[in-house]
Symmetry: C2
Subunit: 421 residues, 2 copies
Amino acid sequence: MVERRKPIKVGEAVERTMQYAISGDVRSISIEEAYGHFLGEDLVADHDVPLFNRSPYDGFAIRSEDTKAASRENPLPLKVVGEIGAGSVFSETVRENQAVRIMTGAQIPDGCDAVVMLELTKEVQIDGETHVRIKRSFQSGDNISYKGEDVKKLDVLAVKGTFINPGVVALLATFGYKHVPVSQKPTVGIIATGSELLKIDEPLQPGKIRNSNAYMIHAQIKRAGATPIYLGQFSDDFSTCYQQVHDALEKVDFLITTGGVSVGDYDYLPDIYKKLGANVLFNKIGMRPGSVTTIAELDGKLLFGLSGNPSACYVGFELFTRPVIRTFLHCSNPYLKFEKAILGANFPKPNPFDRFVRAHLGYEGGRLVATPTGLDKSSAVSSLALSNILLYLPGGTRGYEKGMEVDVVLLEDQEGTTNFK
Amino acid sequence: MVERRKPIKVGEAVERTMQYAISGDVRSISIEEAYGHFLGEDLVADHDVPLFNRSPYDGFAIRSEDTKAASRENPLPLKVVGEIGAGSVFSETVRENQAVRIMTGAQIPDGCDAVVMLELTKEVQIDGETHVRIKRSFQSGDNISYKGEDVKKLDVLAVKGTFINPGVVALLATFGYKHVPVSQKPTVGIIATGSELLKIDEPLQPGKIRNSNAYMIHAQIKRAGATPIYLGQFSDDFSTCYQQVHDALEKVDFLITTGGVSVGDYDYLPDIYKKLGANVLFNKIGMRPGSVTTIAELDGKLLFGLSGNPSACYVGFELFTRPVIRTFLHCSNPYLKFEKAILGANFPKPNPFDRFVRAHLGYEGGRLVATPTGLDKSSAVSSLALSNILLYLPGGTRGYEKGMEVDVVLLEDQEGTTNFK
């Protein structure tokens, strides 16, 4: 007897899944390792930046009032009373008609309130003493980077859950984080199912295909920010399969299976969920590909039963598993962004179901253009290499035409958003 | 005596640098490690995909001619003569008014030319034998994924130098690449200069700042696809510094120094280049920030003398070092993409020099919008965390206003392009 499943909306499926999303632990790593991790705590400034008034240029620190009468016709000489390398400090106070040679980044000496760029000056000797000739007047504050103008002490510069990019690393270094609190990456197990699957290095055989989903998901898990563990392929025997899932759950934060969730006679997952006593959140979604995506929960631990079709597997991971991973990483924006784009090709055939089509995002004259990559079949693999978005085509009675505005899901964006669509 | 340097255009500076860009070696790694590397060779299909005509659905394989007269009013029974699990093969030829139960992905048996989805059928017993009732007619080819429709044998599916994303991993697995030829990542050394620099865990001191550039560049090198080695900070003594650079060149494919290239009295790099006998390609660029960026070459090995200002350092790396790294990785698109965007804020002050301003790329109604992040000063660090583009503002006599179309450089794009701008 064939089980009749009732499809739910994709948004509802995401919502049911996210009810079981939890945050993980925080650990400390060295700053050299931090790129590509996620902040486990807010990054807070421990001091003002700049910490002191400093010179943004090589030049001379001066008192602006001494330059009031200076002009090209009437250059005024100021006596050079010292020099300040970056990192050193001038200990005296600069007095009337005096100047101090100053390097980029060095602290402005007491008494001075402006900097003249080196290129605008000329050094001259007067009575055996070095002077610098100024050819125009300056205002108080000219060419000074003020204490705290960039960052104020206790400013939150990046919130926890932020992807650590090179700019975040610069901030971490500036504020003394030799060790960085980062979110512990969740461990995500992968079990591939399907008696048609050959191992990657097995020779091809009639009726069989090589297992590509497991490796694809392995990479998607890394892109999402988690740690994959490939636990191998299912055997053909139900009780062995059951034991594999049961044992895997002990080792991982989440478990992904690929294949075996359909209504075919060799699809063991539904019975495994039953025997485990897992709570099946849904087993049919009104979307293509991936309608048979099944997600279950056992003692709060999520089991993602992704479809065995490569594109369905790909889409199911990005829509359901990724936001759970990002929540584990403390991201307050765990969902992929939906944006508007111009459709770059025709999709004339209407489809009653919401579709998510692998596509390539390009730009033309400042607009986003989404072009489907390769065949629109859930078995297609050639399209995946170029895909950096999913085209979202709501189901309905009409097709889509090139030039129409459509929604796209950004797969390579690190910012995310707070809500699904 | 202050050296007067003649600025060159940024495009010319990139061109002079890229004359010394070379490709690196290729090595083999396991497919599990491949994500985030770059293909060292073209990825070529070793077989058609699908390898055989297969079923995209669970259902029944049939002969379409048997269904010509089938309708809702006149459902026709076909005798079920067997079943094919995914991965197994039906050994006989299917004859008139016969059908075979078939699983998703399984090979279409001889004699059949269409598949009926399971949901559209009903099994019935007739004279003690299982039949499936078909309620409409089918065309030859309905619901069949044909051999080679996705990929043809010998198709190049991704060229060498391609960033290995999850879709590329799926292709590698499909075509049996248990080991993947990847581009050897270049080793890029970093030496930080500046007597104002504190180590990351030193307490703050008057006139000094923590060394953030070295760690920022460390992360930028990783983002670009190379392997960073931090070689420490310069001492204050010229001959020790010279020896540090000399020794570093033995260990790395390229060397980056931060700071020390200006015309300040403590800027040692120009003299070190001279003493090494290095060929200085340029030491002044008509751009802000980073005008003092200096690039030299010694026996074909590039020395990147980046500015000590954080943003100038950041920009200099992305414009000059990144395309050299990508060339080493065999990318035929080593340059960052320039795209059009709408300016999200005013830049009223004109500047005679071409500017590259750290900015954030967002999307509004399908258009790219570029908003500067934080202060437009080359010393600003707070802006860097949000930056995912550089705003390119050509120098001239007028400022820029919110809403104008501008060029932006995409920093997080993996596709790149063949030419600078």
